[in-house]
Every structure is written in structure tokens, then in C-alpha cells.
Amino acid sequence: MNRQQIETLLPLLANGTLEGAERDEVEAAVAEDADLRAELEALRAIRTTMQSEETYSPGEMGLARLMRDVGEQPASAEPAMKTVIRTRIWQAVAAVLLVMVVGQYAFQMPGDTTEDGYSLASGDEAGRVSIAFVPDATEEQIRSLLLQAGVEIVAGPSAIGFYDLQLLEGVTPEQVYGILDNSEIVDTLNFPED
């Protein structure tokens, strides 16, 4: 384990969740290094301070409000099958679109890429994929769409709500276009043309 890996695990040593061989290794490193000991002490102090803060939550008032509103709505969930079916249809349509767009679009990577997969600010603006979502789109819907399309947000939102996207490894521009362009939660999609 190198020093950065040790430092990465210090918060878990501070909160008591680090276990087994990792814990032994981090503790051994801390015992030999005064800087690591100081950082661990600081993290423990931060944790103690955070946990000792009084929280004034809604308590019984919030529960009363919840029980009132729950009384107006049945405890029902949309069947999981509905999501599955929709995904299959969606995937089928996306596959059709994929065939249609092959050869029409080429994707340019947005500038240099760091080891973490995020683009640098000096990336080529013209080659960027940017996207805006409909106002009612939830984070869960957006995250699900981005995961399905194989892209990640690297910048945004802009003042008018655009996010810059980058393809994950092994994903083709055609696949991404097919999925994003067909989504109901995408308001605007700017895809670079070759």
C-alpha cells in the first residue's frame, strides 16, 4: 500500500469501520509516521465535533405531517416489471436508431483526459457532447440514462442548464447518440458532427 492509499483509508480508521488486513497496515503506517498520526488526530477531532452537534429535526411534528399525508396515498409501488418492459422496448428502439446513425456521426473526445476519466478545461469545445434535460427529470432518471448510455458528466450545468458529457471506455459515439437522442428526459442534445 502506498502513501496515498494509506491516506485514503485514514477517514475509515477515524470512523472505526476499517477492518482486517487493511486496518493492520494503516495502523502500522500511522505508528511510523508523525504526519499521518497528526492527520488521523485531526480527522478524529472533526468526526467527534460533527457527531456532538445537536440536531433539531422535525421529530414528532414531522411524523404527524407524514401520517396525515400517508393517509391520502396508498402504499403502492409500480411493479418492477414495468421498468423492465420499458427498458427492453427502449433498448430495441435504441438499437434501431443505432443502425440508422452509424456512419453519420463521429465522436471527438473533449480535450485531454486525466487518469480519472475527466476532461480538462482546455478541451475542444467543438467536439463536446452537451445535453440539457427536461425540467422535471429527476436525478435518478438522469443517472440511469447516463449509465445506460455509457457516459459521464464532466462539466456543467451551464447558466442555461447544459452539461458536457464524456464517453466511458469501450462505448461508441453511435451507441451514445442512439440512447440519448431517444430519451424522453433529454430536452436538447448537441452531438458533434464529423
Partner: protein, 183 residues
């Protein structure tokens, strides 16, 4: 099956008392997590309400692949992001901004010797993703795997977020301490 999972199963069958028990068990930590990100007690109360309404509606969709607590924190995490999105205020990039602690009330906090104020202030300088990760690690004592479950990202991303967040937090705190002692 743990106690929370048992309660959630009952909630899925329309048991309001089970929902009330689950609320009493988790309301405080979930509210604290929401409030740490919004810093507004009224908005935080509304989001907490929305979270448990979602629990009521979605309990039958819980698949048991994570702890109930992690699942509910995940709902809270997404509700706050939705709120941020509606305001178009959230910065969802994962780059690390160079931040300086130039809060006008820093001197007041330091004079009062209120450590909690310092920590709260410095947490407030972090981006939402980073603040959430630190909050879950230190308020709720979650592992990186659990935090990743809540935020819906790979564990490696959480390691990176916490690593940078703690650096920024320590830098901010040491900056405030340095300014307390005039040269």
C-alpha cells in the same frame, strides 16, 4: 433480517405504524444528512418529508441488496440533487476547485472558540458531492462501499471524493486556526 428491513417489509404491506417506527429510528440521521447539504431547516424538513413519502410509496421495490438505512440515505441524496437541479445551482463536476476561506464571519467564529462553527463553515465550502461523502463518513460512520451505494457511483469515485474533501477540509480548518493567532 435486521429490524429496519423487517419494518420496511411491513411498510410495503401498508403498515403505517411500521412507517412511523422506521421514521422514529432514522429521522434524525437522515435529517442531519439533508441539512448538512441544504443548510436550511425548513427546506430540510420538506425534503425529509418527501423522503419518507417515497419510502411509503416504494417500500415494495426495496430488493434487500443493501441496508435499509443506505437505501433511504440514497433516496435523500437524490432528493437533494433534484432540489439543486431545480434551482440550477449545483455543480456536478468532480474537479477540485482551489478554494480560499474568505468568510467574513471567520474571525467571529474563531473568537468565540466554537469548533463546531469552524467545521460547519469549512464543510460549507465543499462541493455537494464532497460534503455528502464526508458527512456520511463522519456523521453516519459509513464505509466507502456504503457511501458509494448512497451516491450511486463506484467505490473508487468515493475514495477520490473523500480524499480530496478531507484535504480541502483540513486546509480550510488550518487556515482559520492560523488567522486566530496574529503574528
Amino acid at each position: 433480517m435486521d429490524a429496519h428491513a423487517q419494518l420496511l417489509t411491513q411498510v410495503a404491506h401498508g403498515d403505517k405504524q411500521a412507517l412511523a417506527a422506521l421514521y422514529r429510528a432514522l429521522e434524525k440521521p437522515v435529517y442531519r444528512f439533508i441539512h448538512s447539504r441544504l443548510n436550511d431547516p425548513f427546506e430540510s424538513s420538506d425534503v425529509l418529508h418527501d423522503v419518507f413519502m417515497e419510502v411509503w410509496r416504494s417500500a415494495s421495490r426495496f430488493e434487500g441488496r443493501s441496508k435499509v438505512q443506505t437505501w433511504i440515505f440514497g433516496i435523500a441524496y437524490r432528493k437533494v440533487i433534484d432540489l439543486h437541479r431545480k434551482r440550477v445551482q449545483q455543480d456536478v463536476t468532480d474537479d477540485i476547485p482551489e478554494q480560499e476561506d474568505d468568510s467574513p464571519d471567520a474571525a467571529t467564529c474563531l473568537a468565540a472558540g466554537q469548533e463546531a462553527e469552524h467545521v460547519r463553515h469549512c464543510l460549507g465550502t465543499l462541493k455537494d458531492d464532497h460534503r455528502s461523502a464526508i458527512s456520511l463518513a463522519f456523521y453516519e460512520d459509513m464505509t466507502y462501499a456504503e457511501i458509494a451505494e448512497v451516491q450511486g457511483v463506484p467505490e473508487g469515485t468515493i475514495k477520490t471524493r473523500v480524499f480530496h474533501a478531507k484535504k480541502l477540509l483540513l486546509r480550510c480548518l488550518s487556515g482559520r486556526i492560523d488567522r486566530r493567532v496574529p503574528a
